[in-house]
């Protein structure tokens, strides 16, 4: 934290140039271009703060998405200097004074930095049936819950931490070329439910949803997903694990 005699320091803040991709698909004749904005850096400035400052002070038409601004909801993923990141968790301090911001590739573009990840994620969920397939249709909720080993619960949560931000898919070389690719987010979900003793699906069932080139056999193990995941999910080992299991089904 800045100490009390910091104000003099404030005068020496850098000026940042943010080069932002502007494009509005709603507008006829709109062409994608990069627009530069100059702002003065502040202590602890994140891209959330920077972008909002640009929007309130310089350009009210600039489109971007933030929700929790605390790195837990996954709304604000964008390409920062070419790599997908959660903008709210990006301190400008860690970057040179020239920062490029572009929308996540792969997803439907809404405008400027805003992309429709939600729509794609829902489609992915429906396609992979990413919900628990329990034994019974209804449970008696007045009864003591089914037991689970603490380690198992922890392992499930480890994979359950995914926030569906889309960074993994935006970073994925395969997905850039094959738009029907499931992506690491999908594999993560399958790995999560596969771990869950409450789920009744077998590897044969999982094979039905990820056992092809749109699924786990399409993955080329470039592992950009693993490297950019803001939640540090163990995607590398989980995808390899799924591949082994699915190969055994084949």
């Amino acid at each position: 934290m800045p100490d009390s005699n910091a104000p003099a320091e404030a005068l020496r803040h850098r000026f940042l140039t943010l080069e932002i991709l502007r494009y509005n698909p709603q507008e006829a004749g709109s062409l994608p271009r990069l627009q530069s904005y100059r702002i003065e850096e502040a202590d602890g400035m994140t891209l959330f703060i920077a972008l909002n400052e640009i929007r309130t002070r310089q350009d009210p038409t600039l489109q971007f998405d933030f929700v929790c601004r605390a790195g837990i909801c996954g709304s604000c993923a964008m390409m920062v200097n070419g790599r997908p990141r959660l903008a709210c968790r990006t301190l400008t301090l860690d970057y040179p004074d020239h920062i490029t911001l572009t929308p996540l590739p792969f997803f439907e573009l809404i405008g400027d930095l805003s992309v429709n990840t939600g729509k794609w994620m829902r489609g992915m969920s429906e396609r992979l049936a990413t919900w628990l397939h329990g034994r019974e249709e209804t449970v008696d909720v007045t009864r003591i819950e089914e037991r689970m080993e603490p380690e198992v619960a922890e392992a499930i949560y480890e994979m359950d931490r995914c926030v569906e931000c889309g960074c993994c898919v935006a970073a994925c070389g395969t997905a850039q070329m094959r738009e029907d690719f499931v992506g690491a987010v999908g594999f993560g979900k399958i790995a999560r439910f596969r771990l869950d003793p409450r789920d009744t699906r077998t590897d044969d069932d999982f094979y039905e949803v990820i056992g092809d080139d749109r699924g786990v056999f399409g993955c080329m193990s470039l592992l950009a997903c693993h490297d950019v995941c803001p939640k540090n999910l163990p995607l590398q080992t989980q995808i390899a694990f799924l591949r082994r299991k699915m190969a055994m089904v084949g």
């Binding site: 070419g82 470039l222 390899a240 591949r243």
Partner: protein, 257 residues
């Protein structure tokens, strides 16, 4: 089978239960790759026997011609191996082709992606595409030659081919590209299947070491062949006779004593 064809023609393949083929093909791609990479390593070791001496290389080449089993060299054994490898090679190429960018749009996208992302492993994959593409030609040509002229392997025969037939640029490229492709390939194979269970930094180190080691080994061997070829250029076509054999048994037909 017939049903399947008709259902697929009707565009309903996706609606049936999933085919087991993607799994098998994926395994096959990895298996063929592994086989080729391992072969390459062995191959380079055998080639580099020349660094020990012409006799060593002569023994290795004769060994593969079955000389020590049958008492007589059978170069067709080499042809057989080369032929089998050619099949594996083509299978691997065919399977790997599935992952290549198939049109300009895809190529442009992936190239821009690699450039903007500056992500090591993604860039390496593009290198693998490039090296794999070159191997279509260089690897195929090399295998073809070995399959049809197997007798042209030997301390002098190989050196003549490399130097006097001026094939060293070909081998220089083939060596670099093949070692690169194999090193990256083995690394990615380990990541793909999660085995061996080394961490990524360790795997990256192994990948670099493997690449450097085999490239150095190959280059040294190549240099040695070039040097021998240079010295031997006046006797182009003459085969090598091991130092322990009588010089008068040399024949022009092959390197058999």
């Amino acid at each position: 089978m017939h049903d399947r064809i008709l259902i697929t023609q009707a565009g309903l393949a996706e609606r049936t239960r999933k085919s087991r083929w993607p799994a098998r093909l994926d395994l096959l791609q990895s298996a063929t790759g592994l086989l080729l990479a391992l072969f390459l390593c062995g191959h380079l070791f055998f080639d580099s026997s020349i660094l020990i001496g012409k006799d060593a290389m002569w023994v290795v080449s004769k060994f593969y011609e079955g000389y020590f089993f049958f008492g007589k060299a059978h170069p067709w054994l080499v042809s057989l191996v080369a032929g089998l490898l050619f099949v594996v090679f083509m299978a691997h190429a065919l399977l790997a082709l599935r992952k290549f960018p198939v049109n300009y749009r895809q190529y442009r996208t992936i190239r821009a992606h690699v450039r903007a992302m500056r992500h090591g492993d993604t860039r390496l994959w593009l290198w693998q595409v490039y090296s794999g593409f070159l191997l279509f030609f260089f690897g195929a040509a090399h295998l073809y030659q070995m399959a049809f002229w197997p007798q042209l392997i030997g301390p002098h025969a190989s050196s003549d081919r490399i130097w006097s037939d001026a094939l060293w640029p070909f081998y220089l490229i083939l060596l670099t590209v093949a070692v690169l492709h194999a090193a990256i390939g083995l690394y990615r194979l380990a990541l793909k299947w999660g085995w061996p269970r080394f961490s990524r930094p360790v795997l990256k180190f192994l990948r670099g070491t493997l690449f450097a080691f085999f490239l150095t080994l190959g280059l040294l061997a190549l240099a040695q062949y070039m040097w021998i070829g240079l010295l031997h250029s006046d006797h182009y076509g003459e085969r090598y006779t091991p130092s322990w054999a009588a010089p008068e048994t040399q024949t022009a037909q092959g390197e058999t004593p």
